[in-house]
Symmetry: C2
Subunit: 449 residues, 2 copies
């Protein structure tokens, strides 16, 4: 397609790409937004799809529909396989190429097994709707398999649910697993008692939610323990296979040093490592730009790729710094407000360049951080002009809930989520306890397929 | 597990199995309900999941949860591979067996390609949630692929959507496809006009909805045509492959006889043939009972398996007759009220036998028949004590809608479905336009995997 106006290509329809695209709505440019799925995913609530609290369409909006009224934008369902920064074109998976004048790379991140990709078969991560369905299937079918298992030891292995990594996703997932076992499923089984399930949260660092202040990490730990989650800190996972995981961690109380031990478990979820999209590596290969160990691209202060002022890298794929006057630059955290702000900032810098004006150094506005643990349990750390405001428990939970409803896209989705949460709050029911497949198609632990 | 009370095994958690299980709630028996999925599916609305109108959890309820309070029932997620009528046991897919005193086989039906199983790769049928997701993906991605296709002929092939079979499911699906093309997607594409999509409904018989009176078939045909669906009657599909289908049907107007022709299409849905579960064939092999060409078991007047009074076969797997005094027996149609009534009847006959009393011949109460075509378009044929009541159009559509809401299980599901339909009615939006996979994982037409 010929473009008479500058052609802006945006790779990725996540928080960063979406904000960049919206910010260019009135600009004299033609935009192509490329995503490999047909929807924008509200990632902060993906764990709710994985834990059977919400249906997928409640947190996913068709990208094409979101931009129905933005006439300067066309949506393309495709996957970018490479970026040619010199000739200014992107290569698509169907073999075609797309020429750009300006490029915004917002391809996001995926989970990383720290070089142990063989673990992925036994410990799914959580980044896409497919991941969420796989986790939902594993946790619900673990209870089904336990109900059928005559051998008490094997039965307990099915009832041992492990979450690796105690960042926000790991904490949310462990909390939700505990609620499923202690509340949702109560009274539904005839041979097992779901209450016998053990939920383990295994964290390599010294505390949960390490991005939070220490006092809130402590609060979160207490709330997890109250829900019945066994939290293992300073515990490194050294192996995962079909029947469990190998851990190196602190010796039992009273004993010094570390020990190696095994946890027999048939349901393991990976929430530990994040790696940037492989497009970061491609950009490094093609332009010589620097990437960090997680594959994130080190960007210039204006979010552009060093030496390529018409290419911006934003969101989880970017290692960006925030520049405030009079302060030394600080790293921008990999959270959705960061991605959104970078999207808007990159779009504005693009317009500055179009107008022949200088670009501006990115400044991140930090509004704080929040994480939920379960029913009436959350931690909130707000940055306000008057200093930090920190609270936890019931009010933090309500604050978390309202913030997420507010940022969800679409009136209908807000209503559905509110309704499902309302009924879950009152009855502990979970409204999406549906697995599309049968047992045999869907238990890689058993069939090893 | 040892049973001190008679052990009733029910195979299948569809309409028939569910009603049988509920009817035995207060009986002095132990029940095991076996299903290969973890949910009861409200089949009449499955086409809405396939056509992106509803999310899966809105029409699927976890079986285990439905029977939480029925203490004499245990749910088993498993698949029955064979039935040993002599030794009274069922074989499960994990190699174990289950001994029964009474058995109710309600294993339902699947789609049949009339001996052409190779067509299944190109024309998915609609029986399970997985089928629905596959159809949703094919129809939504057909428009995405058309948008990307530079060649006008190939583009039109993507925009040619075919539905084979004009029973209720085929009619509903063709109507929904027409609404997607003419209403939902309008304004969202930049290169194609979704309005250019052709929707073909191909039927081997002389009219649509053959179970309906002829006047209503005619009304349905007119409503389909008004929606822009091209209906081909007396047209037999003789081949389906990756790029389209081969049809033998009436010659164009003015020409006598039949002609063979090809329809180039990349999106074909199969709604033509139904075959009973393969357990019908197993029963025939093991007991010598008769089955019809569709694999349905010919049952005795009391719904039991001939020669095996403790085994009942009900629902879509049974070829049952309705017995009214003074009239010759009539065949029971394969619809959900039929399955539900058989479920209750088989449970009652089982209790009669337990009490040493004679069983009763099944009598089907026919309340009529309804089918929807689209927005404000449906046909209703009610059987009342005062004779048949037939109507079509707007009021039939409202009647259809209220009946389906009424029979849906669960308050929450009713509310969600009403809400989604309300917004669809007002705005023609469809609230589940989400495909979990990416283009390449999910286009068997392209990758042939």
């Amino acid at each position: 397609m010929m473009h008479t106006r500058p052609h802006v290509v945006i790779i990725g329809g996540g928080f960063g790409g979406l904000e960049a695209a919206k910010s260019l709505a009135k600009a004299p440019v033609d935009i192509t937004l490329i995503d490999k799925t047909n929807h924008h995913l509200f990632q902060p609530l993906l764990y709710q799809v994985a834990t059977a609290g919400l249906a997928a369409p409640a947190i996913a909006a068709p990208t094409r529909s979101l931009f129905r009224h933005q006439a300067n934008l066309t949506t393309l369902l495709s996957e970018v396989t490479d970026i040619d920064a010199k000739d200014k074109k992107v290569h698509l998976s169907d073999g075609s190429t797309l020429v750009f004048d300006h490029l915004i790379v917002a391809a996001g991140a995926t989970h990383s097994y720290f070089g142990h990709d063989e673990w992925s078969a036994f410990a799914p991560g959580l980044k896409t709707l497919e991941d969420a369905f796989e986790i939902r299937r594993q946790v619900l079918f673990a209870f089904e398999s336990a109900e059928k298992e005559p051998d008490p030891e094997k039965r307990q292995n099915w009832l041992t649910l492990c979450v690796i990594g105690a960042g926000p996703t790991g904490v949310e997932m462990a909390g939700a697993f505990a609620e499923i076992a202690r509340q949702t499923l109560v009274g539904e089984f005839r041979r097992i008692n779901p209450h016998d399930a053990r939920i383990l949260l295994i964290e390599g660092g010294p505390r949960v939610l390490q991005a939070m202040p220490e006092s809130l990490s402590q609060k979160a730990l207490e709330q997890l323990q109250k829900l019945g989650v066994e939290v293992r800190l300073n515990a490194i996972v050294t192996g995962i296979d079909a029947t469990g995981l190998q851990v190196r961690g602190p010796a039992p109380a009273g004993v010094m040093g570390t020990v190696d031990y095994r946890i027999a478990s048939q349901c393991v979820v990976w929430a530990a490592g994040v790696a940037a999209s492989s497009l970061g590596q491609k950009l490094a290969d093609n332009t010589g730009c620097k990437i960090d160990r997680a594959g994130r691209v080190v960007v210039s202060s204006d979010l552009s790729l060093p030496g390529h002022p018409d290419i911006y890298v934003i969101g989880d794929l970017a290692l960006a710094m925030s520049h405030s006057s009079g302060k030394s630059p600080t790293a921008v955290p990999g959270v959705s407000p960061g991605a959104k702000q970078m999207g808007r900032w990159a779009a504005n810098n693009l317009l500055q360049r179009l107008a022949g004006k200088p670009t501006r150094a990115f400044k991140y506005a930090d509004y704080g951080n929040l994480a939920t643990i379960g029913h009436n349990a959350a931690v909130v750390d707000l940055s306000t002009p008057f200093g930090p405001v920190r609270f936890s428990g019931r009010w933090a939970w309500w604050f978390w809930l309202l913030a997420h409803i507010y940022f969800l896209i679409g009136f209908r989705n807000r209503l559905v989520v509110l309704m499902d949460w309302g009924s879950a709050y009152l009855s502990f029911s979970r409204n999406a306890r549906v697995v599309a497949g049968t047992l045999h198609k869907s238990a890689p632990h058993v069939g090893e397929s």
